[in-house]
Symmetry: C2
Subunit: 337 residues, 2 copies
Amino acid sequence: MSVLILNKDQVQEVIDMREVIEKVRGVYQLKSQGKSVIWPLVNYEFKDEHAAMDIRSGYVKGEQLHGLKMLNNFPDNIEKGLPPFNGLMLVYDSNTGIPIGVMDASYITCMRTGAAGAIGVDALARKDAKHLMLLGAGKQAPFQIAATLILRPEIDKVYIVDPVNYPQAQGLAARIRQQLKEEFKIDAENVEFVAEESIEKAVKDSDAIITVTRATKPMIMKEWVKPGTHLSCLGSDMEGKEEIDPEIFKGAKIYADDLAQCVRVGEMEIPLINGVITKDDVAGEIGDLLSGNIAGRENDTETTIFDATGLYILDLVAAKVAITKAKEAHIGLEVEM
Amino acid sequence: MSVLILNKDQVQEVIDMREVIEKVRGVYQLKSQGKSVIWPLVNYEFKDEHAAMDIRSGYVKGEQLHGLKMLNNFPDNIEKGLPPFNGLMLVYDSNTGIPIGVMDASYITCMRTGAAGAIGVDALARKDAKHLMLLGAGKQAPFQIAATLILRPEIDKVYIVDPVNYPQAQGLAARIRQQLKEEFKIDAENVEFVAEESIEKAVKDSDAIITVTRATKPMIMKEWVKPGTHLSCLGSDMEGKEEIDPEIFKGAKIYADDLAQCVRVGEMEIPLINGVITKDDVAGEIGDLLSGNIAGRENDTETTIFDATGLYILDLVAAKVAITKAKEAHIGLEVEM
């Protein structure tokens, strides 16, 4: 029984954003057909170590893949000169239960999260959207920009805004064109990248907004959002996290990656608690939209929101892309287990 | 970040039963001090594939180890010429959250289960116990025999009984002395190994009994058990499994590896449901016994029972033995993740 081992560099070398996008789109649709299962989350807080771990797992019936991802978050490691965060994935063939890959999870997580945000933009932003805004200039931002530019090559301006670290936004704006070329093979010569200090100014000039911060209070106010804007909200994945003004939800067309999970920990958690919206105001899940079972944007003035909390089934299909590509290229280590 | 990868052969080559026994004994005691956590079990049945998987995980605070084990059981693989069962473990240093090992789980599971059964015998059987009986001559049996002979070298006769496969018992009896020598470095020249077809005959002549079958109805009857016998019951780890007559529990001193888990799925499940005993009849957990917090056997005529359902924290400490030994011997593959 031989298992492919891939470290972070190898995953990065072989994985391809275009294929990840197609697989993530497909798995959202499989989910809407009941062909996937998210298994219960296991998580734990190490009190003395000020640390946390979680185990996410699941099964994609349509792709015959199952597995898990174990993440460890030990912020105190920074003082020790050790990486504060690590993740490993185990991926199995669900026809035989035999493991097909053991791999670093971090790059895969970034790839599938980028694909998720961009699929929301592509499915819901106005067809003539030209200006994209990223709220949050951290690790996730380049993946969101890359995936969105693949799906919406008409975008000609990207605002990069970081609510807590403007220099980080400036740094990303300065290097992103090169990074898109080298890491994602995307030619963004005709795209203008602007580090903007004012959230308000950027929001007012954007057609599509992706939020990827750790914020716990609204950063984007309702009165700044112009008619017809789409928002993909990816930062909120725990109780109490919140990136946008709950009022933006009022009257908007709202989609979830997983309705139950979004209600519990997503961007819609607080608007639901506050009574700004009710569950009936949620149009449905993105997989139903992508499958054509429910309507999407119907005019150029409505606001649309995609609330994405992250699903392990996305990691599974993205990991499969890496495994397939690595095998083709003879990259990674085949270990007899 | 470099992680040690160990396959089954490498685990077998380096791991040592004596050290596993000490570690398992220690982790039972840590459990009794509240220094371990078993995280919730995740399991799933693949209906179309007639298969199942489970993810067991936990944390041993005293040893600063945490991790998981993912088991896949796909019996239909046999027809395909593939292994029907596999397991992988991820082991982490809980001071840093950094993975220290990725390894095959199957040999570790056998080792820690052998240690568990034997620790029950050693802690609870009469000091003058000479005859051991194994009910079940499958994969687990050699590990139970090895660990028990290490802890109780006075044992001079081992009955090997298999309720469904007598030739398997004969085969094991014929080869076990050699296997003990080669695999466990145990000299059993002075031990008589007897494949016995009659369960009754073997029970009547045994001082300590270890059960490791998949039985779902009692195989050992109360009237065969002589006064002062100890039973370590390891086969029952799912609802409905049962190896010994519930009447044996009446008046016996009963110990659990984990009380809540034994009540739910252990050998005591059915005696409790039938009302043969109540939870108050359970003396306590083995860890409390080993720590000296509760009494053990008090005379040479009482029956003692150790109900062991299996705990992931045992796998963790056993895996650590393998990792430490493998590093010393430069065995296994160090992979930069």
